[in-house]
């Protein structure tokens, strides 16, 4: 069994033992010691109080020195390193939860509950959150250390390079936010159906392992909602390209405002005439002509982008399993935490203080007896 200290600098307080000793010496000097050539003609004055006082003085000094010493030791925070306690360190876990998203945040509270010490870290970059977690774990008292990465574990949400930051002795575990991958979003699509320009509300349902798309009923919209103008020589190609693009369908958000695609070289007069007040999107004349439809589709998609949603392709259980590892042994040099050993010392200090107060009171009674006798013999 050994003793470690949480604040060893406080042991310097042991030097304060000199204080009661100095006081004792000063008081002794005050009580007078007189060097005398010979005691052969002297007889001890029968004042039992003097003898008692000497004994009391020595005991009082010991008591005061013990109070100072115990207080200094208590402030230094002794931690008894018994075999049971050392093995107990491995049985408790300091847990850092790295939340990848809101789902991870809600999981964190549950994960942290059972831990000896826990904290949740969330940063825009998962690598930063991991660094914070590692730093926090290094500051924890001796215990098993573990990082739990919680949230929607989509592919790309965490990379092997991020995990390489984690020291070897720190366990890694993943907690997937159950059901959080299910999501449904509906966005409108502009398309041509049977030669007519329509609006279709397209429902997209994201599952963990699949994405299902269901189109709602089509509703006709203004035929000139989207138009295209070009040089006279390119007009036929341009209109064909627009028709082809709309046949494929494009995500569209603003059905109240007309949009006109203008190929370079188009007559300015025809632009104004065809679509006054419309949103004008200029683009070069596609080349070769066979790429015209794709170019027009890309221009339309850029004008009204689809909602930024990804298909939730999840990290595979095998991948997560290969990244996981159990917590290692507690660090030898982990900062110690008060394990409550000092409370016994404080108890002893309080007890000694009580004894000291009692002895002082008792001594003052003796002193008054001594003074009385001095007056009498004088």
């Amino acid at each position: 069994m050994s003793i470690a200290w949480t604040a060893p600098a406080a042991l310097l307080g042991l030097a304060l033992i000199a204080l009661p000793i100095a006081i004792h010496l000063l008081v002794r000097q005050h009580a007078r010691t007189l060097a005398f050539p010979s005691l052969r003609f002297l007889r001890e004055t029968q004042l039992a109080a003097f003898r008692r006082r000497r004994i009391e003085d020595a005991t009082l000094l010991a008591c005061r020195a013990a109070i100072v010493a115990l207080a200094a030791v208590a402030l230094a925070g002794p931690v008894l390193q018994t075999a049971a306690r050392t093995s107990g360190y491995a049985g408790r876990t300091s847990r850092a939860v790295v939340a990848l998203d809101g789902a991870g945040d809600s999981l964190a509270a549950t994960i942290a509950d059972a831990a000896f010490a826990s904290a949740t870290f969330r940063r825009p970059e998962v690598a930063d959150a991991l660094s914070d977690a590692i730093r926090w774990l290094a500051e924890q008292p001796p215990s098993s250390r573990e990082i739990v990465i919680a949230g929607t574990l989509r592919r790309g949400s965490i990379a092997e390079g991020d995990l390489a930051l984690i020291p070897q002795g720190v366990g890694v575990r993943f907690q997937n936010a159950a059901g959080s991958a299910s999501d449904e979003v509906t966005w409108p699509v502009l398309a041509r159906r049977d030669g007519v320009l329509v609006r279709i509300d397209r429902a997209v349902h994201f599952e963990v392992d699949a994405t299902r798309v269901a189109d709602g009923p089509a509703a006709a919209v203004a035929s000139d909602l989207v138009s295209i103008v070009a040089r006279e020589a390119d007009t036929a190609l341009a209109e064909a390209a627009l028709r082809a693009a709309l046949d494929a369908g494009v995500s569209w958000s603003d059905f109240d405002r007309r949009t006109q695609i203008v190929w370079d070289g188009a007559d300015a007069a025809s632009i104004n005439r065809a679509a006054p007040g419309a949103q004008i999107i200029r683009m070069p004349v596609p080349a070769p002509p066979s790429a015209a439809a794709d170019a027009v589709l890309a221009t339309l998609r850029a004008a009204s982008p689809r909602p930024d949603r990804f298909e939730p392709v999840m990290l595979t259980p095998e991948q997560l399993s290969s990244w996981s590892r159990p917590p290692g042994s507690p660090l030898d040099n982990a900062p110690l935490r008060d394990e409550g050993d000092r409370r016994w010392l404080w108890g002893a200090v309080l007890l000694l203080l009580a004894i000291e107060a009692w002895m002082r009171r008792s001594r003052s009674e003796i002193a008054s007896v001594a003074d009385d006798s001095e007056v009498r013999v004088a």
Binding site: L34, A35, F36, P37, S38, L42, R43, T45, L47, A370
Partner: protein, 290 residues
């Protein structure tokens, strides 16, 4: 026996102080005494021999002539000067309220007086080792004598009894032995003093005491620590004073009586008392007796 040849600066200062003080006191004493209080054995009778013409008539023993009808001349051994050995107590009990300084001063004063009248003076003190300056005369020796006296310090393991025992062994020629001590080792010391006296030496005992040793006027209750043994005793002086003073007085009387009975001169000196008058009184009284 050896003596220290190393004189520290503090000892030198102490020597200077001692010289100054001694000089002043000795001057005063010399003026008051006129005639030396110490005597050597100047002419000791050795034998008769028949008178031969030319012999000094003052050495003719006329009484013998009357008895025997023959003229004899008295012959004497060679003249000797006084040889004085100061045996000074350097025990720890002397280190009390100026008592040792008194002893040292008295040694220096009387030693200077002896040397000034052309006689020999030496000093002996014994602690862990012996500090001995053999009795010699001469002005140069005064400095040596005073240096040794100035260097003396009260120490543990010092014994006046042992010093006297050694003095008895050292001093072969009849002379004067001056003992300066508080005489707390009275049994051993008195035995040796008497032995020295019986050896034919002239002995003077100067009993040095601090005034507080007689009166126990040392304030309130205190833990008394024996300077020599280190033994402690809790004493309330006001309660102990009466019996203490009586015991000390009885002891002093006994010591003085024992010494005087042996024909030994005894002088008690106390710290705080004017030294010169006390010494003058003693020396004048002693001169009157010789």
């Amino acid at each position: 026996m050896s003596r220290s040849h190393v004189v520290t600066s503090s000892e030198l200062q102490s020597l200077r102080d001692l010289e100054l003080m001694t000089k002043a006191t000795v001057e005063g004493l010399r003026q008051g005494l006129h005639r030396s209080p110490f005597h050597g054995y100047s002419a000791e009778f050795a034998q008769y021999r028949p008178y031969r013409p030319g012999d000094d008539l003052k050495y003719v023993d006329w009484k013998a002539f009357a008895r025997t009808d023959r003229i004899y001349t008295r012959q004497f051994r060679e003249t000797t000067n006084l040889s004085a050995l100061f045996v000074t107590d350097v025990s720890k009990s002397m280190d009390f309220r100026g008592k040792f300084e008194l002893a040292r001063t008295v040694t220096a004063i009387l030693g200077t007086l002896v040397l000034d009248q052309g006689d020999a003076a030496g000093v002996l003190a014994v602690d862990e080792r012996a500090h001995y300056v053999p009795p010699r005369s001469g002005h140069h020796h005064l400095r040596v004598f005073l240096a040794e006296v100035a260097a003396l310090q009260p120490r543990s393991h010092a014994s006046i009894g042992e010093a006297l025992r050694r003095a008895a062994a050292i001093v072969k020629r009849r002379g004067l032995v001056l003992v300066i001590s508080d005489l707390y080792e009275d049994k051993a010391a008195l035995t040796e003093i008497k032995r020295i006296k019986q050896m034919g030496h002239d002995v003077i005992v100067i009993h040095t005491l601090a005034r507080e040793e007689l009166t126990l006027d040392v304030g309130g209750a205190a833990e008394f620590v024996d300077l020599e043994s280190g033994r402690t005793l809790m004493v309330e002086p006001s309660a102990a004073r009466e019996s203490y003073v009586a015991a000390v007085r009885s002891w002093l009387t006994t010591v003085e009586q024992q010494l005087r009975r042996e024909g030994i001169d005894y002088l008690r000196l106390m710290t705080g008392d004017p030294l010169e008058p006390a010494l003058r009184r003693f020396l004048v009284g002693r001169r009157g007796r010789t």
